[in-house]
Structure formats: C-alpha cells, structure tokens
C-alpha cells in the first residue's frame, strides 16, 4: 500500500540504544526498520528487559510488551520478531512475508553459513574485529560443517579483507593466498596485488602472479589509483573537507563532532 503512514507521535523520553550501530531508536517505526534490515546484528539476547521496557513504557505498547514477556521463554525468537513487526504496523503484509522468508532461510542455513552471514554484515558496518572473531570461529567448526572448499575460500577472502581494514596487511596477504588456493580465481590475487601496491613490504610469493597478464596487472594498478583519487573527494574525506569551508566557529564545532563520531565508530569496531 503506497501513500502515507500515520506516525504514533508519542514522544520517547528514553530512546533504545543499539550499541552495535551506536545509534538510538526513538519510535516503533525505527525499531521495526532496525529489526527488518539488521537481522544479522540481532543476538539471542535481543528480547530482554531493556527492549520490553522500551516497547511498553516508551512506545506505550503495553499489549505487545505483555505478549513478548509471556512468550519470551517459550516461542522462537524469530517468531517474536515477527510479532513485533506485525504489531507496529510499519511494514505491509507483503514486506512481512518477505521478512518471514528471510527468517526461514536463516533457520535452514548451517551454523557456519549463519556465522559467515553475521560476520559479513559486521564487516559491512566496518566492525572488523567483531567480523574477524566470527571468521575465526567458523574455522573451529568440524570440516564437514564447512560445506565446501568454495565456502572456506570465501571465508578466507573475507577475513583477508577484514584484516586489511585494520591495516594488518601481512596477515591479510596470507588470507588472500589461502583464498586463492581454494577458489582458484583472480580476485584474491588482485587484492594481494593491491596490498603490495599500498605497502611494498607485503611480498607476493614468487610465481603466484605469473599467469596474470601484464596488461591485467596494469589495469588493476590504474583502477586502484582511481579509487584512491575518488576517496579524497568522497566519504569521510569529503565530510571533513566540507567543514573546512565553514566559518571558524562552525568549523571547530563540526570537526569536534566529526572526531567524536569517528572515535565512537572506532570504539565500536573494536567490539
């Protein structure tokens, strides 16, 4: 149903804090959005006293709070998440159906797949340490649970990217080599090559790149240079650059706020 959704304008005194994302949620609609789009961030302990109080006291949905408290120990968490979304009425029936399918897919996947999905999600949020812990945990599982060589290769590849994210280039290079051994495609080699370009101390084992044509390597190098150039004018650099154009007072205040946010993001990434 397209159009408008009437908001429940009850003001929230104590918003719900989502530690993993470093944000506060102020409404039922925001809570719904968080659940729907961040399923991977939701741990087994999500349905706790803090959430119940937020729903009951802050959102004024005492009926939903009672339901959740009653069923918390008995019903499956996925079912209760669906109950929350249904009662808040932010999502349409079709959207709820899609969410249910997402829950079903997750339930059917193996422990290794679930862990990888969560690790990948943390990686997308730049929470590299959290992602690395999960990638490592995957390798502690029995071999038969790791499904396939391709799966293991992808885990090595993603772990390499997470390590590159925290500037552990040597360890990242090792991961990309292992990923290449399992995946046998060019992508891990390309990443390894890029690491080498970023830090010459990262050595590429002899013979590993022999079958990559010089022209391809040249293209990889050109594209990396392009990425580096773009990075200077987008994202965080652009954000900081925009502040330099403001007057002294606003610039100082803006930079202070930006540094505070970066610090907070860094602290979360350590999580």
């Amino acid at each position: 149903m397209s159009g408008l959704i009437l908001c429940n304008s009850r003001p929230v005194k104590n918003p719900y804090y989502v530690e993993e994302m470093g944000i506060h949620l102020y409404s039922g609609e925001e809570l719904s959005y968080f659940i729907y789009h961040n399923l991977m961030l939701i741990g087994d302990d999500f349905l706790d006293e803090r959430l119940f109080r937020f729903i009951g006291q802050e959102l004024g949905m005492t009926g939903l709070e009672t339901k959740l408290r009653k069923w918390a120990g008995q019903a499956d968490q996925a079912e209760l998440l669906l109950v929350i979304l249904q009662d808040i009425h932010y999502y349409s029936s079709a959207e709820l159906f899609a969410f249910k399918e997402q829950l079903d897919r997750l339930a059917k996947s193996s422990a290794a797949e679930q862990m990888k999905a969560k690790a990948d999600y943390l990686f997308s949020l730049r929470q590299y340490y959290g992602a690395l812990r999960l990638y490592d945990k995957i390798f502690t599982l029995r071999n038969d649970e790791l499904i396939s060589e391709g799966f293991r290769g992808t885990v090595w590849f993603n772990k390499g990217s997470a390590l590159a994210g925290i500037f552990s280039f040597d360890q990242a290079a090792e991961c990309y080599i292992r990923a290449y051994e399992l995946l046998q495609n060019e992508e891990p080699l390309r990443k390894l090559f890029e690491l080498h370009l970023l830090d010459e101390l990262v050595k590429i084992p002899e013979g590993l790149m022999d079958h990559i044509p010089a022209e391809t390597q040249f293209n990889w190098k050109t594209e990396l240079e392009e990425k580096k150039k773009r990075a200077r004018f987008t994202g965080r650099a652009a954000e900081a650059e925009a502040l330099m154009e403001k007057d002294n007072i606003r610039r100082a205040a803006g930079l202070q706020a930006l540094v505070r946010r970066w610090k907070s993001e860094y602290q979360r990434s350590q999580g």
Partner: protein, 421 residues
C-alpha cells in the same frame, strides 16, 4: 470558576466589555465609571501633559478638550497599519498605546468583581486580519493574560453565538442584525441549515453602501433622511425572507425614536431587539463555553472567520487506511493550525482532500515531495503543518524530519499556498 470570563468588542470608535456570570448563565456589561447607561467606551487614549498618566474614554476626550494632554484615537486602525504616535517628543508604537488602553479597560471588570484573574478573554473585531490578530494577542499577553486563554472572533461569529444563546424561537428562522456606527451600516444575516448532523449555521456580513454619518441624526431633517435610507434598506434586505428576529446595535441605535418608518417594516411579524453589547456579549458566551468540557454550541458555523471546508488526507494507521482531518470545516481559521507526522511510503505526492460543507464536490490539492532528500523507502518522516491566513488561504508546510538517527533530518521545508473554496 473564579476568574473573569470576558468578552471585549474592540472597535475604532467605541469598545465594549462584558463579563460572563456563571451563576446567572449570562453576560453582564461592564461600563467605564458611572456611565452605566451605554457601556460604550471610546477607543481613545490621552496622555496628561508632563506626567506619565494615561486616560481613556470620555475622560481622555475631556482632558484633550481642555488642553491637558495629547489624545490618540482610532487605535485599532493605528495597530492595523503598524503606525505610531509621537507625544511630547516620544514615539509610541500603536501596540504600546493599545496595551495601555487594554490594561485600563481590563481594570474595570477586575475592580467590579474584585478579582485579578482572567480565566478566558475573547476579543471580537470587525475584520480578522492575520497581522492584526498576532499583534492583538501579543498585546493581551503583555497585559499578563495567558496566551492560551485569549481568543479572537469576528463580529459575525459573535453575532451567531449571541443569537444561539437566546431562546430558540428567536432564531427559529433567519435572524438579522443591523449595526449602525460611525464606521457605517453593517448588515448581518444568519440561518440554521437543519437536517444535518451536526447542524450547520451559516452567516453573512455585508457593509451596506447606503450609509450615513451619525451627525445627521442631530437634526429632524437628518433623522427623517436617515429613516428613509434605513427603511429602503430594510425593504430590500428583508424581502422574501422568513425572518424571526431583527437585532439593532451600534451607537446609531442608542435610541430608535428617529426611525419610526424603519421600525414599522422591521417589526412586521418579527421580534425586534435593540441594544448595545451584542458583540461583547456573544464573545463573553464563548469565553465561558471554551472552558467547558462539552460545548453548548454543537454546530458547524460557516461565516467570516471560519473555514468552509474540511481538509484531510488518507494515511495508513494500524494497518488500515484512515482519513486524517487536518482542518475541520467551521473552525476558526486563526486557531486552525494543525501538525501531523507521517512516513512517506512509496509516493512522491502529498494529496489533500478539500471538502466544502454541504457540497458533494470534493477538491484535491497535491504537493510534490520531490524536493525531499532521497532515502530508502519508508525512511522519511514528514511533518505536515496546515495553517490559514484567512478563511480561504491555506498554507501547507512539509518539513523533513528524517528517520531518527538512522537517517538524520535535514529540516528541508516545502511550502505551498492554496486558495480553497
């Protein structure tokens, strides 16, 4: 209820004040000094020479006449044109003078009833113009009257409330009012449209061209001329109408002895009431009604100062499509401001429905939301603010409220003005 419930008719020539008495369930006129006969307080102010002493009404005239001070009149007009007056080399803004005047007239009921507290204050004025109303309310606030206790009605609205506070046989059919002042001759007409729930009361106001200065009433020949003019007006206005009552008010009708021919026409199978304080009393009735849990006037009033259409839109609430009313027909345009928050769901337009009272024709007005920042679907909350600058001019503002900390607000505002029927 221990505070004062006041109605003030604020005009350029005279002002009148009435205080609603809950025990008697009717308003009581409040006069200046011993002048209990008329209760008309000239809207003039005079500063005594060399002193910080101010006088209003007849006293102000007297002081100015004997050269004891400088007088300023037509205070309402002065405020409307954002003017000022220079007295003894000091420039006084119009609203400062009006404040002093208002403080003085508010003293009258305070003294008479022995209380300082004003629980409800309803002004009634000839024309409802936005800037003037803002100023008037600011002036009232500066007189230490709380903002939420102050309301403003048009004369037409006051007339309606005065009439429907009388016995029903008085307004069984159409009801008319002639207001004869220095400003001219004003004609008001109201009727109840029955058979609808809630019932609709429609009233109209017209400033008649056939007017005359009240000075003509100083001579017998002038009185005769005025009577002739008024009789011609009555013949024209009352023709083919079923009128239950005719009300006569304004300084010109302090006495109606000068208009025998007109009275013959007016009294023909109709009740005729003549007196002052009609608008102030109507306002005082409202001052009392506003404090009640349930209104004594369950009608939709369509007149000057009231919105003629209901403005609404459709939105999903609790999973169902519901009509959300942003402004109701019959509400006072000055107080009809509303604000509701919505989440935009897969739409680039805001469609409002404008439904005039008693008409099947429904008008649609749309506002493009393209100027809002691009975000994923359902992550833009908007505040829709509807306000009016008169009965027909509606302003809609759409404010980007973002989506919490997930998608911070930009504060972007889309503003559109509409002329509605």
């Amino acid at each position: 209820m221990e505070g004062l419930l006041l109605g003030i008719d604020l005009c350029d020539d005279y002002s009148q004040i009435s205080c609603f008495r809950p025990l008697d369930m009717e308003p009581e006129p409040v006069a200046l000094g011993d002048d209990t006969s008329s209760g008309l307080i000239p809207t003039v102010i005079c500063k005594k020479k060399g002193e910080d002493a101010w006088y209003i009404g007849e006293e102000a005239y007297r002081l100015a006449l004997f050269g004891g001070g400088t007088m300023v009149d037509k205070l309402v007009k002065l405020v409307r044109k954002e003017g000022y007056a220079t007295i003894e080399g000091v420039r006084y803004m119009a609203e400062d003078l009006l404040r002093i005047y208002l403080e003085k007239i508010l003293e009258l009921p305070k003294k008479k009833y022995g209380t300082e507290e004003i629980e409800s204050l309803v002004f009634t004025v000839q024309d409802l113009e936005g800037h003037f109303l803002d100023k008037l309310i600011q002036v009232a606030e500066s007189c230490k009257v709380a903002r939420d206790t102050v309301h403003v009605l048009s004369h037409t609205e006051s007339f309606i409330y005065y009439v429907i506070s009388q016995k029903k046989d008085v307004w069984a059919n159409q009801t008319c009012l002639l207001d004869l002042t220095e400003d001219g001759l004003h004609y008001y007409e109201m009727r109840v449209i029955r058979g609808r729930k809630p019932q609709v009361i429609e009233a109209e106001h017209e400033k008649l061209e056939e007017s005359f200065s009240l000075d003509v009433l100083d001579t017998p020949a002038g009185e005769h001329l005025a009577d002739t003019i008024l009789t011609a007006c009555a013949d024209r206005l009352f023709k083919k109408k079923i009128i239950s009552s005719v009300f006569l008010t304004g300084k010109g009708f302090m006495t109606s002895d000068w208009a025998p021919e007109f009275l013959k026409v007016a009294c023909n199978r109709r009740k005729v009431f003549a007196g002052q304080h009609l608008f102030a009393n109507g306002a005082a009735y409202v001052a009392f009604d506003l404090l009640q849990e349930d209104t004594a006037y369950p009608y939709i009033c369509i007149c000057e100062g009231r919105i003629r259409s209901t403005v609404s839109l459709y939105a999903v609430y609790g999973g169902r499509k519901e009509q959300v009313v942003l402004a109701s027909a019959g509400s006072n345009w000055y107080e009809a401001k509303s604000s509701v928050e919505f989440i935009v769901d897969d739409t680039a337009m805001l469609d409002l429905t404008v439904a005039p009272v008693g008409s099947q024709r429904v008008e649609k007005v749309s506002i493009s939301l393209d100027e809002l920042p691009a975000r994923p679907n359902k992550t833009t909350k908007i505040e829709v603010i509807v306000s009016f600058s008169d009965e027909r001019c509606m302003t809609v503002r759409v404010v980007d409220k973002g989506f919490g900390e997930l998608f911070p607000a930009t504060g972007k505002v889309i503003r559109r003005d509409f002329f509605i029927s």
